[in-house]
Amino acid sequence: MDRYALILDSVSVRYGEKEAIANVSMKLEKGKLHVLMGPNGGGKTTLIRAIAGLVPFKGKIKIYGIESHEYLKRHSIGYLAQRGETVYDFPMTAIEVVEMGRYGTKESRKLRREKAMKFLEEVNMETYAHVPIGELSGGQQQRVLLARALATESKLMLLDEPLTGMDSRAQSRFYRMLNSLRARHALTILIASHDMGFTTAYAENIMCINKTMVSRECIAKLLAEPEIKELYGPNIHLVKHYHLPQEEDNDV
């Protein structure tokens, strides 16, 4: 139990008649970067929202050994929603947005500001601290929202497609930043993504979800998805990275 930050035991979520995910079980080791892959509509967002207590589910979710609803009553967790779920044109500056992560702490206004600034520095956004969130670029907004997730000082980060709106250089920087944050703060990170590039390069554990299936050997299947073929062309190639724990059938 000590080894795992997150344990899911046959978790199912329904939206009315529609079953979005069914009997998903997984264990996430502490301090690692885990990636949840899957096609559009595969249930990545649903799973993350279930963990965060934002949708009702059947089954068991334990966060640091405690039943998730109990855990969430007493602790915040780091959460970055999929883009499009937040209203961005809102009269709050970047630093005010980051301060949201400090809600519930009894610290003074001044200390809150200082801490928020520290987390903005962590994502290299301190120069934009007083810019309204709606006037930042997509990638900059994502970094501010990451800082907000970090500001909860939770060891568990749930990031739903954090790379949206970033060019490949920004993606690479984002992952490097994430990795160093993970190392420094001993974070357990769960990322939902269907990115084949940097995500697979930095992930220490890749899981795939398509409603029911959660497996480690699905990348080949995923790559065969017609949408992805359409997106990246028929000759997609997955590059193996030497520092990754290897799966048997990574190559296509």
Partner: protein, 283 residues
């Protein structure tokens, strides 16, 4: 003398009430605007009519009865939209027309009583009593206390409900408390401009302010100030031309909104992009 109307005590009452209302709506309005609940004010104010009529028929205070009815209505709309599958605006749309009908129906029933229906519908500054001012003052205090204690939580909830929930904002509670705050606020407005036009006073100054600033506190400040100016102008207008106070005030509130809108059109191309002096090489 330009300001002779201030000597009249009913005028003083109207001015004091107008100021209180402008502050209350200037604080509450921006939350409604950013929560996309602009319709809420209009919906709740129509419920006030039923309360007023009920109060008169039962021989109880119309203000008290409208507080009860409007708060009940606010709670009902909240309940229907939070637990049901329909959106807030459809919930308001279905519920408030019924209350409006009920109000008119009750007024019809109370034919024997002397009811100034035009006054209730469109506002009558002559009818503002010192109790109305006292009520508005109490509501203002409640609103200020709420802003201090729950303002931050409400702001977070308005910006991003999911994240607010995860960080422990009791979103259900805050939502219902906000309904109560909105209900109390709308009743103070109803006295000044009547049932039909109250929604405008609650929303329009905040909608104008929204275009003028990117800071929530400044938006509140601008909507308070522009509200006070519009309400004063409206009251003066209504006094000199002997018109109903409601339409006169709404006229100025809307005129201000249009001015801001036109000004925005004019300066749109130049002011939209904010230049930041910082390394642009960062992704």
């Amino acid at each position: 003398m330009m300001f002779e109307f201030l000597n009249y005590s009913f005028m003083e009452r109207a001015i004091v009430a107008g100021t209180l209302v402008a502050i209350i709506t200037g604080i509450v309005g921006p939350f409604l605007v950013f929560r996309k609940m602009s319709f809420m004010g209009a919906g709740l104010s129509h419920g006030a009519l039923a309360g007023i009529a009920l109060g008169i028929i039962l021989g109880l205070s119309p203000t008290l009865m409208s507080v009860l009815i409007v708060m009940g209505l606010g709670f009902l709309i909240g309940l229907v939209s939070r637990t049901g599958k329909i959106s807030e605006d459809s919930a308001i749309g279905t519920v408030y027309t019924f209350f409006m009908a009920l109000g008119i129906f009750l007024i019809n029933l109370s034919k024997g009583y002397h009811i100034n229906i035009m006054g209730y519908l469109f506002g009558d500054i002559l009818a503002i009593s010192k109790y109305d001012i006292l009520f508005a003052l109490i509501v203002l205090i409640v609103v200020l206390v709420w802003l201090i204690l729950r303002g931050r939580a409400m702001l977070y909830l308005t910006f991003d409900e999911d994240f607010a929930k995860i960080t422990g904002v009791p979103i259900g509670w805050d939502y219902y408390i906000f309904m109560v705050i909105t209900s109390l606020s709308i009743i103070t407005v109803v006295k000044l401009v009547g049932v039909v036009l109250a929604g405008s006073i609650l929303i329009v100054p905040s909608a104008s302010a929204k275009m003028l600033s990117k800071s929530f506190m400044k938006i509140i400040a601008i909507s308070v100030i522009s509200g006070i100016i519009s309400i004063f102008s409206g009251i003066a207008f209504s006094y000199y031309l002997n018109t109903s106070s409601g339409p006169s005030i709404v006229f100025f509130v809307t005129a201000f909104f249009l001015c801001v809108l036109l000004w925005q059109f004019g300066s749109n191309t130049t002011s939209r992009k904010v230049k930041i002096k910082s390394p642009s090489s960062r992704p």
